[in-house]
Each structure stands twice: as structure tokens, then as C-alpha cells.
Point group: C2
Chain length 313, copies 2
């Protein structure tokens, strides 16, 4: 049992799919399972489906409970130290004691954390972080999420909600964020803000290859920037400047070995990453910047289930 | 030896005085010694004087080397993990291997760290932090210093320079800081910036009790604010707003149990602390602010020698 067990199961619980992976103690995914979440069946229904997955994975490898360090779960919501899900909008859960529900069903050790923290944990240990001491993940998408990993563990802090990298203030009295604060990184650099920045430019009459695009996405903007579109490049520079401020703040405070950039928008690659690195350098304290590597996240969609397994490995 | 030893000696090495304290394993100062630094005698001369102090304190209590966990030193400069002082302007030191110099002289375990980190360590363990898990100190003076303490240890990060709370960016493209960056907290809220803010107000013709004051100090400004002076109150509100942004950033990232405010300017008390707390609340993520206590530092001038002792206790 515990640290000596050869396997753990990590569960990435999303609003649409539940992905579960049997992970070796060396941090490699062995076998996986994916099935619909069917959130409308409620927390008990979801717990039943996760249990089926876990038992299914164990059966496929002929494993006994003693072969497993336990089951870790990443949840898209606000969690507590004792495994409650306070709020998970995509699941329509409020104050669900999911750790208890699942451990009662399975008779196994269960640990639970927020999905962004879990992804950060995976990247820190076996992804972009490569096992470093101080690691920070940014996930760029519809929102800006992330997590802070110190010595191989999620840093939760007093509120259990630490690591909200998207809510660093990068523009005092700036645009209102969904959180109610002004000038958060997320309000200025997440997908919707990128699209708005391009729309504003088009409305001002800027010539751009994006002017004919109906379904304007961050991906389309990055692609246009890659092709040299001036408005798209200006938008990327704007986003990179503010991401640079937030990353530089994290560097002066925590001096991470590695800051990794993941999430849908990060698929844009160097056209986004290089300006972020340049902006961070310009905003960082001399003698500190060069100690932090700023790199793409490497685990993609596996980060969720891998990181969940690391909650118990 | 080690953790079982009943005492440690902490040395607060300043540009003018060296203060040394014999500290019990319970974290109390037993006896102290203070003597001039005489920095002009060079690192060997300073090491000789520190050795005399350490031996003197031991002799006064009749202690043998085995009674001491070791000697810790707080240095006003940039230090490394192996006890080098890279730069200490007040001592005119460049690349001085002071840990080695002193441990060779004393034949005792010696540990060394930056003075701001050392003060933070003391406040975290036995001062304002009361032994909490996640603690951040701000020292408000001519500059803004501080330190981050996690689980009773200084967080150094990859560069060994983490915890530079004065260089969080709170005003993109703001005034130039001494560090070369723009809009650092220190450039906007430290003593010189407070004085400049008042001078600017006076130059614009604002009526103030400070208009006749020749030697304008942050202390005088806080005193005037306490007496209701409008320009002084406006200056305090300005400083508190930007301190609030920096503290809120630290709350969303690290969610400290306690943020303590120390340094010369903090002696102003509630007239400064209350606006800082209000500003932090306004800038903090809901559900996180209430988990962080924002309080005055409590150890005053003892923080340096106490914290130095904690490097080895």
C-alpha cells in the first residue's frame, strides 16, 4: 500500500467526459478509459460511473486493491482540503462530498483537487517542470487558470485556493473581470479578450485578414499572426505584454525554476511564446529572469489524469 | 548538537552595528551584544568581531560548542545557497565567502541569509505569523523589502532571490524604479515616493500642515495624516492603494495565512494599516481575502538577530 504500490488511478472529471488512467509509480500512463460524464445523473451517478471505470481498469490488469496507492481525481471546480467540491458549475454541483462518496464506494484511498492544480502537478513532476522545486503553470483558454507546485506538491495556502494566476492585477482600474475585480490578467489576455481586441481594431478600420472571419477565435488570431497579419500581431503583443507582467511578478516573488504555458491558446506556439518571453524579460528583475525557464506545457490532454494520479503517488 | 541543542546565536550584521543574540530553542532571546561593524576593516575584520561576539556570549553563559545548534547571520545584501555574499553595498563587500570565513574561525555550524529573509523568518515563526504555514513580510522604509516563508523556511526559489515583494509591478509603464523596471511597488510607495507625492501636492498649491516642514519624512507624513491633514491622507491613500494591489496579488497566488507589515514607515500604525487592509480587500478575489490576516510586524529590531538564529534552529 501507499508509496510502495506499483500503480495509482488518476481520474480527470470533466463536464462532458470522465477520463481515467492507470498510472505506474514511475509516472507513466499504462491503460486508459474514457466515458461520458452524464452530469445530469447527479453526484451519485457520476461516482457510480467513476467506480465502474476504476474497477474496469483494475480488472483489465488483474490488479488487487493492494496494488493501488489510491485514486486521485481532478474536478473542474472549487475544492476543499477534506475533499468537498464546493462549486463545480459544469457539473452543477454545490457542496458535494465527492471524496467521501467515492472512497465509500471503492474502499480505496481517494484524493481530490481542482483540475488546474492537478494539471500543474503533472507538468511539474513529469512534464515541462521535469521534477523541479518551484513550478508555475498558466493555462490560456477561455479563462486563465493554473497552479503553483512547490517541492512536488500543490500549494493551496490558507484558503485552499492559491495559484489563481489569472487574477493577478496587471492593469489597476483596468477592465472588469468576471471575478468582480478590475484589471485581472484573465480580463485582458484570455480568449474572449483577444477576440475583443481584434474586433476593436477592425471597428477602428484596421486592415486585417481577420476582417472577413465570422467565427473569430484565439486560434484564428494566432494563425493570422503567424502569417504576418498586423492586427493579429498587435493583439498578440498586447496579450504577451500583460502575461509578461504577471510572469515577472511571479518571478520576483517565487523565482520558479520553470513557468509552463499550456491551454488551448498555447497551441499557437512560438508566435505567442516568444513575445511572452520577451515581455517577461523586460519586466523582470535583473539577476532573476535568467533563472526561470518559460516553456510550453508538454502533457496536453494527459495532464489531467496523470496529475490526478500524482495526488496519491 | 543540531536540533537537540538548547541554544543558537543569531547575528544581525548591519552597516553600522553588529547585533548578536543568544536564542533559546524555544525562540526567546536570552542575552545580547551590540558593537560597531567597522566595515572599513574588511570582511576578515568583521568576521573577527563577530567571532569575538559569539565567543563572548558563550562565555557569559558558560556554554560549550555542543550547547549551540550553530550561528546564523543576516546580511544586508545578495547571498547564495552556499553562504557567499555576492554584493553588500553598506559593507562594500563583493563576492565574500562569509559563511566559510566565519565557520573556519569558530569551528561551528554557520548559516547565512539576506537580512529581509531573516526578519521574515523570525516574524513567521515567533512574531506576527505565529508559526503559520504561509507567511509574507513587507518592510516599508527607504525601499520595500520582505520575504516569503513557507512551512517555517525561507522560500529562495531558483535564483535564491525570491521574495522581492517591492518589485511586483503595480503600475505598468509607471515611474522608473531603482532596479531599472517601471512601476514597481517600491518606486510608488517607499519613503522617497511618499515624500515626492507630498512635494508634488504642495507644488500644485494644496494647503497642508506639511508645507512648512523642511525635513519631510514618511513619519511626518503619517503623523500629519493622523491629525487629519488632507494632503497627507491623500498620500497615504495613494500608497495604500498600490500596496493593496501587491498584497492582493500575493493573496491570489499564495493565499498566505498572514501578511505582516513592518519597517520604519509601519510605525505609523492604523492610519496606514487600515487603508492598506481596505485596499487589499477591494483588490482581492472573493473567498480568498478573508483567509489572510494583514497585521503589523511585532518583533521590531529583534527580528534580525532572532531570525538569524532560526537559520540554524
Amino acid at each position: 500500500m501507499g508509496a510502495q504500490s506499483p500503480y495509482a488511478i488518476g481520474v480527470d472529471l470533466g463536464g462532458t467526459f470522465i477520463k481515467a488512467a492507470l498510472v505506474t509509480s514511475a509516472g507513466k500512463i499504462d491503460i486508459q478509459d474514457r466515458r461520458p460524464t452524464e452530469a445530469e445523473s447527479g453526484a451519485e451517478g457520476v461516482a457510480a460511473r467513476v467506480s465502474e471505470q476504476v474497477n474496469g481498469l483494475m480488472a483489465r490488469k488483474g490488479l488487487a486493491p493492494g496494488d493501488l496507492a489510491g485514486v486521485g481525481i481532478g474536478v473542474p471546480g472549487v475544492t476543499t482540503a477534506d475533499g468537498m467540491v464546493i462549486l463545480a458549475p459544469n457539473l452543477n454541483w454545490h457542496h458535494v462530498p465527492f471524496k467521501r462518496l467515492l472512497s465509500e464506494r471503492l474502499g480505496l484511498r481517494v484524493e481530490l483537487d481542482n483540475d488546474a492544480n492537478v494539471a500543474a502537478l503533472a507538468e511539474a513532476r513529469v512534464g515541462a517542470g521535469g521534477g523541479c522545486d518551484t513550478f508555475v503553470l498558466f493555462t490560456l483558454g477561455t479563462g486563465i487558470g493554473g497552479g503553483i507546485i512547490l517541492n512536488g506538491r500543490v500549494h493551496h495556502g490558507a484558503s485552499y485556493a492559491a495559484g489563481e494566476v489569472g487574477h493577478v492585477c496587471v492593469m489597476p482600474d483596468g477592465p472588469l473581470c468576471g471575478c468582480g475585480k478590475k484589471g485581472c490578467l484573465e480580463a485582458i489576455t484570455a480568449g474572449p479578450a483577444m477576440v475583443r481586441h481584434v474586433r476593436d481594431g477592425l471597428a477602428k478600420g484596421q486592415v486585417s485578414s481577420l476582417s472577413g472571419v465570422d467565427d473569430l477565435t484565439p486560434e484564428a488570431i494566432c494563425k493570422a499572426a503567424d502569417a504576418g497579419d498586423a492586427l493579429a500581431l498587435e493583439t498578440i503583443a498586447h496579450v504577451a505584454f500583460y502575461l509578461g507582467i504577471a510572469i515577472a511578478d511571479i518571478i520576483v516573488l517565487l523565482s520558479p525554476n520553470v513557468v509552463a504555458i499550456g491551454g488551448g491558446i498555447s497551441a499557437a506556439g512560438d508566435v505567442l511564446l516568444n513575445p511572452i518571453i520577451e515581455a517577461t524579460k523586460a519586466e523582470s528583475l535583473e539577476g532573476m529572469f535568467e533563472h526561470t525557464k518559460i516553456v510550453p506545457a508538454t502533457l496536453g490532454n494527459d495532464a489531467g489524469s496523470l496529475g490526478a494520479a500524482f495526488l496519491v503517488l
